[in-house]
Subunit: 226 residues, 2 copies
């Protein structure tokens, strides 16, 4: 509907998907000002904020770190919930143990609040196809609804874009390799380890996607995961 | 769609509208556990959180105070933006000077995050008809979109209810008077004054609505505003 005008606010986690959205924005809106926003919400792998800062610096984006009250109810935040070591999705509601309650809606709302105080803007989020099963707030229908809420609930009629919402992670990596995404600066490990643990859910997913593409993941892992 | 089950989370500002939603919930869901949530977001009238605590205690609701990073870009939060002393809506985007960028979406998202970590729940917000013009995040179409975002983006498919979204403030007062809402405990003044200033936008709106109903506002004002 509305043309993509104004400034850009990118939800930058430090992982590879949102880093690739950075290149996507730069390619389509070369002159637009971009603010990358990274959240601290009590996650165990807060080291990802350092990766996000490095990625933002690579692109020349402004970078803001926003600290929120800790979100409870997730293996990513609660000490009494172990981190998943596989793609085990068998919880009572069918969501992944690493699902963080309403996290993306909360992040989008903060981005909207920051952007709407300044002028027209597009908000960007790196959700993708492989997370549709375990994470309700990564699904296309959520993105459509959140876009409507952001557009209707702000003075500047902000928009939400999720360019990879229908892409498998391997396709994101392929596109990123062809467009200079600094995958070596990104960080995914839920345990917050450097070198990455290689066994947590997100390490396994990342390694599998690189293997599918037939390219070595440029970040170091604790063990050789040939 | 989904029946209203589980617990209830009420966005309780300390003003009269959300206090009236408290009675609404108690009447319709007499046994349901209710958590009232009040936000500190850099507002000048933070005294309203004391009123919210008193209202929550009156109903026997659990009460949580959530501190968020300050939201900029509003006369309610920025020291260089004067508080409105009338219903002056003439800003560049047509919104009220007291519009706080994406505030309701942010509050709803936090409520969703709190609720979705525990189980099925309904989120309640006291937006009403008289704020449709100046506040995009008080309009029915925003409520519909936010409800969809909350339902689709959470593991428990939460719902958002805004029972007064089509009601003028005077009707809320009439209903509240008939249902024992403790209006004397509520606080509205943007200046955060007790007794209330009587001249800011929200004092004037409140006084006008009570006058329309033909009942005296039970809270004290600085000057006699006969």
């Amino acid at each position: 509907m509305t043309a993509l005008v104004g400034s850009h606010f990118l939800l930058l986690s430090g992982g590879l998907d949102s880093a690739t959205v950075g290149s996507w924005i730069r390619e389509r809106h070369p002159g637009g000002p971009v603010t990358a926003v990274t959240f601290l919400y009590g996650q165990k792998h807060a080291v990802e904020s350092e990766a996000a800062a490095a990625v933002a610096a690579h692109y020349g984006f402004a970078h803001r770190l926003v600290e929120l009250p800790a979100i409870r109810g997730s293996a990513l935040t609660d000490c009494d919930r172990p981190l998943p070591e596989s793609r085990d999705l068998a919880t009572v509601t069918g969501v992944a143990p690493s699902y963080v309650p309403a996290r993306n809606l909360l992040f989008i709302a903060v981005l909207a609040s920051l952007a709407d105080s300044a002028g027209p803007a597009t908000l960007w989020i790196g959700v993708h196809h492989d997370d549709h099963t375990g994470y309700p707030d990564c699904r296309p229908e959520f993105v459509v609804a959140a876009d409507a809420a952001v557009r209707l609930g702000t003075q500047f009629g902000l928009r939400l874009e999720a360019p990879f919402v229908q892409w498998p992670k391997a396709d994101i990596i392929r596109w990123g390799l062809a467009h200079g995404v600094p995958f070596g600066l990104t960080h995914s490990c839920y345990q917050g380890l450097r070198p990455a643990c290689g066994v947590c859910d997100t390490c396994q997913t990342r390694l599998a996607a690189f293997a599918q593409v037939g390219v070595a993941d440029p970040i170091p892992y604790r063990e050789h995961l040939g």
